[in-house]
């Protein structure tokens, strides 16, 4: 019975877990590792699975921890940004007096499946263009939905550093989406 379970998890939820991991880790290879670690962890913890949640929800919960582990490992290998990192790019968005350099355009309101999937592609591309640490903090917050206190702890960065990274990441993401046609005027 357990044999069936572990292999059916892979068959039924493997791709789903892979996509979730890929969106946050921005790497096929790391996402595959995260799926494998998730299923192995699920296997050794299967006695604790009560059946209250669906298997997918349960596996997704385990996956989140594995993703955080992966990101923590990556962060150790990436240099944390100096305080000025990204500051110059932010300077371009504003005038000297602190006003926006360019007016912001309202975004379109995608409805059809095609529009939504186009939008998700742009979202992922923009996230890939963020500096690694910024992308990681942004993903943990906006995709995984972790609280900033958890993120600080996991990545061992100060809260101030965390706020600054999130602020910059959001400014860049917004800008990137607008430049890639996600505004009312440019919406296909």
């Amino acid at each position: 019975m357990t044999t069936l379970d572990a292999h059916s998890w892979l068959a039924e939820h493997g791709d789903y877990l892979f996509r979730m991991a890929r969106r946050q880790l921005h790497s096929d290879e790391l996402a595959e590792d995260a799926v494998q670690e998730t299923l192995l962890a699920a296997l050794s913890a299967r006695a604790r699975y009560t059946g209250d949640a669906s298997p997918r929800t349960w596996l997704t919960g385990i996956l989140k921890h594995k993703i955080v582990d992966q990101i923590r490992r990556q962060v150790r290998e990436v240099e944390l940004p100096r305080d000025q990192d990204g500051e110059e790019a932010v300077d371009l968005l504003f005038k000297q007096d602190g006003h926006w350099a360019e007016p912001l355009r309202p975004w379109g309101n995608p409805h059809t499946e095609a529009e939504l999937s186009q939008l998700r592609r742009v979202l992922d591309e923009c996230a890939d263009r963020l500096k690694p640490v910024m992308a990681q903090v942004f993903s943990l917050r906006e995709v995984a939905g972790l609280e900033t206190a958890e993120i600080c702890k996991e990545l061992d960065i100060t809260p101030t550093n965390c706020w600054v990274l999130l602020h910059r990441a959001r400014l860049f993401m917004r800008q990137c989406l607008e430049l890639n046609g996600f505004s009312k005027a440019g919406a296909a």
Partner: protein, 85 residues
């Protein structure tokens, strides 16, 4: 910070408000600025929009990405190793 924050300062407040509860003074400053500034109001709206899009559960489903046959086989092998030691 002056009594009314600049647009640049306001974007920092709006961003932080997505993650934590601001102090009374910061909340007031943010609200006042958003009430009179179309660009920052737009920015604030888009922060919420981005969150909604990123957290949409359906997000992962229409993505065509899938485990390769190789990866699937590798994982299945690892699982089997655990199952019969």
């Amino acid at each position: 910070m002056k009594w009314l924050p600049t647009c640049r300062e306001t974007t920092a407040l709006a961003s932080r408000a997505m993650d934590a509860r601001l102090s009374f003074a910061d909340r007031l400053a943010l609200r006042l600025h958003l009430a009179i500034c179309r660009n920052c109001a737009q920015f604030n709206l888009q922060l919420h929009e981005m969150r909604r899009l990123f957290r949409a559960e359906t997000g992962a489903d229409d993505d065509a990405a899938a485990l390769t046959a190789d990866a699937r086989q590798r994982i299945a092998t690892e699982l089997q190793k655990e199952l019969d030691p």
